[in-house]
């Protein structure tokens, strides 16, 4: 595990990826379906990094994009949203057929358990044994026997299905807010976020808003990315578009449909990526292009109306050891009486 200081880690997305991502590494999305770090994904595609291995719990659009852009060549997943019937193919299907991509199929729980074991520093963890006859357990691919095992439960003597723990090199994560040190706070459907983020050796974090450290301290129950694991933090409004993010925006179905419509051939998805990824500098330009092409109204209808959570009161009596007049209630002494007391009891040593 890598350890990062509680210091200002703001940088550009481009710098974060060039500094912390290397060809051939493994990474995990610490979001699932909702609040997806798609601005980061686009930047990764622009960066030209390659031969990455991806752990992605469930995908609506990112897996197909990363495959077409030749960023990933190994994939561990449970779900990749597929549009259309038998007559069409998805980028994932084409990549598997053409042997450009290796895949390991899992279920949601078994995959997340691999992250949880890795996060806790265990080499394996029990999972629900009832599914052991399923083909995703029996049939392995490039990870071979490094996925499932069976152990004898030392207490009941029964056979227990287990999975191996994994620590991806880095996690991509998008949250609502963070401070400059990268203490990231998230709310809404928490899905896989905690265990995926903690399993990774480091987290590259984007957030809708950078906030004062005092905001974080007033609501620590919302912190999901602790700064000691975060190597870079980038403020990026609309960083999860077209997925939704509680408190900020709804999902953008029409925009997604335009993307889905291009998945049938490499040429058409390439055209989409040229327009929305390669031909774009950053999320600011992406939004400007969106407004130009689809109109301001299309974006405005997605904006969330506020619905505030009632704040948790973290208050206490503020009973300090020494009150404003210098009196200590528990000792019934002031400071000079205290020193006199220590001296009298003979515990004060002399230099």
């Amino acid at each position: 595990m890598e350890k990062y200081m509680n210091v200002d880690k703001r940088m550009t997305m481009e710098d974060a990826i060039s500094k912390y991502v290397n060809d051939g590494e493994s990474f995990v999305y610490a979001n699932c379906l909702t609040g997806m770090p798609l601005a980061l994904t686009h930047e990764l595609i622009r960066s030209g990094k390659k031969n990455l291995m991806l752990f992605d719990q469930a995908s609506i659009e990112e897996i197909d994009m990363l495959i077409e852009a030749r960023v990933i060549d190994r994939l561990v997943t449970t779900f990749n949203f597929r549009v259309g019937g038998k007559r069409t193919t998805s980028p994932l299907e084409r990549a598997l057929k053409e042997r450009r991509l290796k895949i390991e199929e899992l279920s949601n729980l078994t995959m997340l358990s691999m992250m949880k074991a890795g996060a806790m520093g265990y080499s394996f963890i029990p999972v629900l044994s009832g599914i052991k006859m399923a083909d995703f357990v029996k049939r392995s691919n490039y990870l071979g026997n490094q996925r499932f095992g069976e152990v004898k439960d030392p207490f009941t003597g029964k056979k227990q299905l287990v999975v191996k723990g994994y620590n991806p090199d880095f996690a991509f994560m998008h949250v609502q807010r963070a401070d400059t040190a990268g203490n990231g706070q998230m709310w809404g459907a928490m899905f896989n976020s905690k265990w995926a983020a903690l399993a990774a050796n480091k987290i590259i974090l984007t957030c809708e808003k950078i906030v004062d450290a005092e905001v974080i301290k007033s609501s620590p129950h919302l912190t999901i990315a602790p700064s000691f694991k975060v190597c870079a933090v980038i403020e990026c409004p609309w960083g999860a578009h077209p997925s939704e993010l509680a408190g900020f925006y709804d999902n953008d179905f029409p925009f997604r449909a335009l993307y889905f419509a291009t998945l049938g051939s490499s040429a058409s998805i390439k055209t989409w990526m040229d327009e929305w990824i390669y031909g774009i500098k950053d999320r600011g330009e992406y939004l400007a292009h969106y407004v130009e092409k689809l109109g301001t109204e299309s974006l405005d209808v997605l904006r969330a109306k506020p619905r505030l959570s009632v704040p948790a009161d973290y208050g206490n009596a503020n009973s300090y050891e020494w009150d404003e007049s210098g009196y200590n209630r528990s000792l019934d002494m002031n400071m000079s009486q205290f020193v006199e007391f220590l001296d009298k009891k003979g515990v004060l040593l002399q230099s």
């Binding site: 909702t34 469930a58 779900f79 998805s90 928490m190 899905f191 905690k194 029409p254 092409k293 969330a304």
Partner: protein
């Protein structure tokens, strides 16, 4: 009085009848969600809807796009995460019913939702397993709604265990006693499972559907209930609810695509007109 309904409305209504008041219900996809919300608004107001995204006690005001779609509801009673949903909730027996989709199903309710064809040289990779395997294994009852799936003699890939080889084989394999597939609701009728053999049989046919035609679509000699029923139709009130809550479910897949294309076309035209002005 004549009642006009769509086939998807009938499926939603019939699926809702599978939920009893006070039950905890796992729901992912559209038809299941419409059924769950209909049940809560009618005969099962104390049932609790949850998804493996860690959201428990949701009350959607429209059909969520996916299992973690935060834009379809306001608030919920318990925010945990996916690890908790499968272990502390499903593994502890709290899930009464799970609604799941089907790619392929065999006569014992085993399901494939990953590969069609030989997995090493497949014809199609469906969306994938997701949370289905553990929910199918550990929920007390599973209810399947089938729109595009098919019945097969042998699955190309086993994703979610049903009754395995029938009889007691499911429970011998370690799944909770008494658990298993309860109903399969298709465009033709409702299928249930024999209490002893665990083999699927036709329990009711939707109005106007022919038993022989249904049997001909199934690649084994399908058993039919002695007291075969005709599926009960939703009331005007149920239909009004479904149409209000889920117009895109009401219309079915084909019309969904047509309406979405129109919507996007209008959006693009409007934006380009504004640009010119």
């Amino acid at each position: 009085m004549t009642i006009k309904y769509t086939i998807d409305e009938l499926i939603v209504y019939r699926a809702a009848q599978e939920i009893r008041d006070g039950e905890m219900v796992v729901i992912g996809q559209g038809i299941g969600m419409a059924a769950g919300v209909l049940a809560r608004s009618t005969h099962a107001p104390n049932s609790v809807i949850l998804s493996e995204a860690g959201i428990v006690g949701i009350d959607p005001f429209k059909v969520p796009l996916h299992i973690a779609d935060m834009s379809a509801f306001r608030g919920y009673t318990y925010g945990c995460d996916m690890m908790d949903a499968f272990t502390c909730i499903a593994n502890q027996g709290y899930v009464d019913v799970a609604f799941l989709g089907v790619g392929q199903m065999d006569k014992y309710g085993n399901v494939n939702s990953v590969y069609i064809g030989n997995p090493d040289n497949f014809e199609m990779r469906l969306s994938g397993a997701g949370g289905a395997p553990e929910f199918a294994a550990y929920s007390m009852r599973t209810v399947f709604t089938m729109s595009g799936g098919q019945f097969v003699k042998k699955l190309d890939y086993l994703t979610s265990p049903g009754y395995l080889e029938g009889g007691n084989s499911r429970y011998k394999a370690g799944m909770p006693a008494g658990s298993g597939p309860a109903a399969v609701i298709t465009q033709d009728g409702v299928f249930k499972f024999d209490q002893i053999t665990k083999e699927i049989f036709l329990s009711s046919v939707h109005p106007g559907k022919d038993v022989e035609k249904i049997k001909s679509k199934i690649p084994w000699d399908l058993k039919v209930a002695v007291n075969l029923e005709v599926t009960k139709l939703p009331s005007e009130k149920d239909l009004e609810f479904i149409r209000t809550f889920a117009p895109f479910i009401t219309m079915g897949r084909k019309l969904q695509i047509e309406c979405n294309i129109n919507r996007i076309f209008k959006m693009l035209t409007k934006a380009s007109e504004q640009k010119e002005n």
